[in-house]
């Protein structure tokens, strides 16, 4: 398979023997992998359609070793790609063919749970869910909960500014971290943010959050912990059409209620989930809403009454309130299993991650159906309805020649549709290698050049995760030309470069 990296991003001079020798000064045994067989598990992340072997894989255990890897790469002018748990859905952790893959998997210790001050100090390889598990005895938890939370690491969460199903009320990673310590490409250790609620100078913590491993390598993180809500209710409402469900979402929020979670699934996703986990979903519905309300018991009761009334007013065909913990878990089970459920009804699926202003939901879904018909590929929709984050799942068969490529193209068209209505190409999965072309559609040339200048402010040699997230103007020119070649400029009103 040809490299997905562009030639312009692969202009490094590699002396592999010298590289291995230098790295071996600080890394021994299974901390330094050089055989193809040993490196194979690192050739891709959660987006397995993209694969690339690195020159070597390093798995340091100490900050000094991380610094050594960066120093060697800095001296030899070779790229470095940092990797947490490898669950990125945008090929953010895809290795560079001429570079070093730097795994932080061994930085897996919870250094401190300060329950009194509601914060946790963590190494970057700690799993997201492990934080909440460790905080649970104190009645606390870590709010962002990406669906990969069993596996994904907090370092990766920071790099991607990970979200989850509770973002509308509790925010993204950027809202829930206090401090990050990272090593710059020049080998310097810097601490951004603090335990206080703000810091002096520029908000470099915000700049680094979601920077996709391109500004520094994170070695320690302090996160905020929140009290577990004393009470929770989960509602399930079904609708005869998607638009009505969308209106109900607007109605709930417009009435002043911000649910802890508000999720939508369309018919194909409902059916797949029901077949998989038997959550008791109404399979005749065109859409369902799952609504979680949290707070004090009184508060939750008041909210529940109001939401049920609103759902009814907005035309829900059926409203169920989970009667006990089992039923709450069951209502959520189908949603949480939606991706693997769709995986069962198709040989492969491709998850897309655009966000739209919710008022355009009906239009976007209708256009998506047209695109689905045009490409002959089925699309199931799972939707963080509260915050407008869509996850269309394109069903395809990777064994059919050309079908992955068509799927990717359809995915690109869907993302461009999101930009057309004023949304974004990625709500929470990151740009990585996957959506780098669509960045040309969303951003103008000065914006992209500003991103690049910011990148070089942190990493003047440009060695951290090159060729991802921020496209060069060259790439955009070629991408634009390709689109014209297909004769289908999707929205000519947007300036392109």
């Amino acid at each position: 398979m040809a490299s997905v990296y562009r030639t312009e991003d692969c202009q490094y001079t590699v002396d592999r023997e010298a590289l291995v020798q230098r790295l071996a000064e600080a890394l021994q045994g299974d901390s330094l992998l050089v055989d193809d067989e040993a490196m194979r598990p690192y050739e891709c992340d959660g987006l397995a359609g993209y694969r690339q072997m690195p020159q070597v894989v390093t798995i340091p255990e100490t900050i000094e070793q991380v610094r050594h890897v960066l120093r060697v790469c800095h001296d030899m002018n070779l790229p470095v790609v940092a990797r947490g748990a490898g669950t990125s859905l945008s090929a953010g952790a895809l290795p560079h063919p001429q570079g070093v893959l730097l795994s932080l998997a061994r930085f897996n210790k919870i250094l401190e749970i300060d329950h009194e001050r509601r914060m946790a100090r963590l190494q970057p390889g700690v799993r997201n869910l492990a934080i909440s598990e460790a905080a649970a005895p104190y009645g606390l938890y870590y709010a962002p909960d990406p669906s990969s939370q069993i596996t994904c690491s907090i370092g990766g969460n920071v790099a991607e500014n990970a979200g989850g199903v509770h973002c509308l009320k509790y925010g993204l990673t950027v809202h829930n971290i206090l401090e990050v310590t990272m090593i710059t490409m020049a080998g310097e250790e810097v601490t951004l943010g603090s335990e206080a609620l703000d810091s002096a100078g520029y908000d470099l913590l915000a700049a680094v959050t979601g920077s996709e491993g391109m500004l520094g390598v994170i070695v320690e993180i302090k996160v905020k912990l929140l009290p577990q809500p004393p009470a929770k209710d989960v509602l399930l409402a079904s609708f005869a059409d998607v638009e009505t469900a969308g209106n109900a979402v607007a109605g709930i929020i417009g009435a002043g209620i911000v649910p802890g979670g508000l999720e939508m699934m369309d018919k194909l996703a409902i059916q797949a989930a029901e077949d998989f986990v038997q959550a008791g979903y109404p399979t005749d519905a065109a859409a369902i809403l799952i609504c979680e309300l949290d707070g004090s018991p009184d508060d939750v009761r008041a909210q529940r009454e109001r939401v049920c009334q609103l759902l009814d007013e907005y035309g829900a065909a059926e409203i169920r309130v989970a009667g006990d913990e089992d039923e709450k878990a069951r209502f959520w089970a189908g949603r949480k299993a939606a991706f693997p459920a769709v995986g069962r009804i198709s040989p492969d699926y491709y998850c897309i991650d655009g966000t739209i202003p919710r008022k355009h939901l009906a239009y976007v879904l209708q256009r998506m159906q047209e695109l689905s018909d045009e490409y002959g590929l089925r699309v199931a929709n799972v939707f963080h309805a509260g915050d407008g984050n869509l996850h269309p799942l394109v069903l395809y068969d990777g064994n059919v020649p050309g079908e992955f490529e068509r799927t990717e193209e359809l995915g690109g068209r869907i993302l461009e549709l999101c930009v057309e209505v004023g949304g974004t190409v990625t709500g929470e999965h990151g740009v990585g290698m996957e959506k780098i072309n669509q960045m040309c559609v969303q951003f103008g040339s000065p914006d992209l050049e500003q991103f690049r200048a910011l990148k070089y402010a942190f990493d003047p040699s440009g060695l951290l995760n090159p060729g991802k997230a921020i496209p060069t103007l060259n790439r955009c020119a070629e991408f634009g030309a390709m689109h014209v070649h297909h004769g289908e400029l999707p929205h000519p009103d947007i300036p392109r470069y």
Partner: protein, 355 residues
């Protein structure tokens, strides 16, 4: 194009200034000029670039031009039963959204509802080269590109002129109440934290040296339950004390006396030990201190507690106003500044000398 849309003109003027190497002093409503270090330069008036561009109450998003007065935004929000959760302070009439975001300050609700930077979703910014750029957008979840919108929030106009802001807004609480309790500071803040953990909808907790003030915002049921749990005397007007605190209209702030310092410190790490009067907000995470102590002492005390200090009022504008940065962080600041404003024409020295 609306007469209130001056983006093109402003970008041109910044580009011109860059060509000529003329420093600019960005100005909105002119109510925050006392903040930060003194900066020379030709005034660049941003208050004419104004107006609410888009407001979607059911999506909790509002977009407005930088020169829009906060009063106008609050009125539009109130009409739909919504608010700016970060409760931006106003230190005079005509204070604008651009100034609120450029200084990044947040009011008493901040520990529970988020800071200015938390609520900012997107910006349109002109950098020091006069390039008009757009970052983020009008959606809650957006991870495309670096988070420049949050980076420019609180950068005091030194990275770019913020011309437009999209932000998350929230429903006004169904009920709000304010309490005064004769409780000590440490004991009081611990009681507030304990009640918050049990679901009491705390939205303010301050101690003025003699009494603990607590505000509750939420559903009527939750506020009532909180009132019962915390006890104390209920204030007649639930907003009066908190707005006076937010806008520095309390006697503590307005009385003649030593310079006013702001110390932002971690939770439960102790209080600043400095001569002079002190008022604590943010449940003990923000301290206002009127002190004649030398700046170096205040910065040292803030650092000892793991936080940072700002000389808020009363300095001469030439010495450092913000907590000095460690050398590697200072270098990053210089490089970031150069990435946005290579000629150093935007509010030079407002934040730190040489930046």
């Amino acid at each position: 194009m609306s007469e209130h849309d001056q983006a093109e003109d402003l970008a041109q003027r910044i580009a011109e200034a860059a060509r000529e190497g003329t420093p600019l002093r960005l100005q909105g409503g002119g109510t925050r000029g006392f903040l930060g270090r003194e900066t020379g330069g030709t005034p660049l008036e941003l208050s004419g670039h104004r107006g609410i561009v888009n407001y979607e109450p059911t999506e909790l998003i509002l977009t407005a031009r930088a020169g829009t007065p906060l009063d106008e935004i609050e009125a539009a929000l109130a009409e739909q039963g919504q608010m700016m959760p970060f409760e931006p302070p106003r230190f005079g009439d005509g204070t604008t959204l651009g100034g609120a975001i450029a200084t990044g300050l947040s009011g008493p609700r901040r520990p529970w509802a988020g800071a200015a930077r938390d609520l900012v979703l997107g910006t349109r910014v002109v950098n020091g080269k006069g390039e008009y750029m757009r970052f983020g957008g009008e959606v809650m979840k957006n991870v495309a590109g670096y988070d420049v919108s949050r980076l420019v929030t609180g950068s005091y106009g030194t990275l770019g002129a913020i011309l437009e802001v999209s932000m998350k807004v929230l429903p006004l609480p169904e009920a709000e109440a304010s309490l005064t309790l004769a409780t000590g500071e440490d004991e009081g803040f611990r009681a507030v934290e304990a009640s918050y953990r049990d679901g009491v909808p705390v939205s303010g907790a301050a101690h003025d040296g003699s009494a603990l003030h607590v505000r509750l915002s939420g559903t009527r049921l939750a506020v009532d339950a909180g009132l019962q749990r915390l006890g104390g005397d209920r204030d007649e007007d639930p907003a009066a004390f908190w707005h006076a605190l937010r806008d520095h209209r309390l006697a503590f702030f307005t009385a003649d006396g030593p310079p006013l310092w702001r110390l932002s410190v971690p939770m439960l790490k102790g209080v600043p030990e400095l001569p002079g009067e002190r008022l604590a907000d943010w449940n003990g995470q923000l301290h206002w201190v009127r002190t004649d102590a030398p700046a170096a002492d205040v910065f040292r005390e803030a650092a000892r507690l793991g936080g940072h200090a700002t000389l808020f009022r009363g300095g001469d504008g030439h010495d450092e106003v913000f907590q000095p940065l460690p050398a590697p962080i200072r270098r990053l600041h210089e490089q970031v500044k150069a990435a946005f404003d290579p000629d150093g024409i935007l509010n030079p020295g407002r934040l730190y000398a040489g930046l």
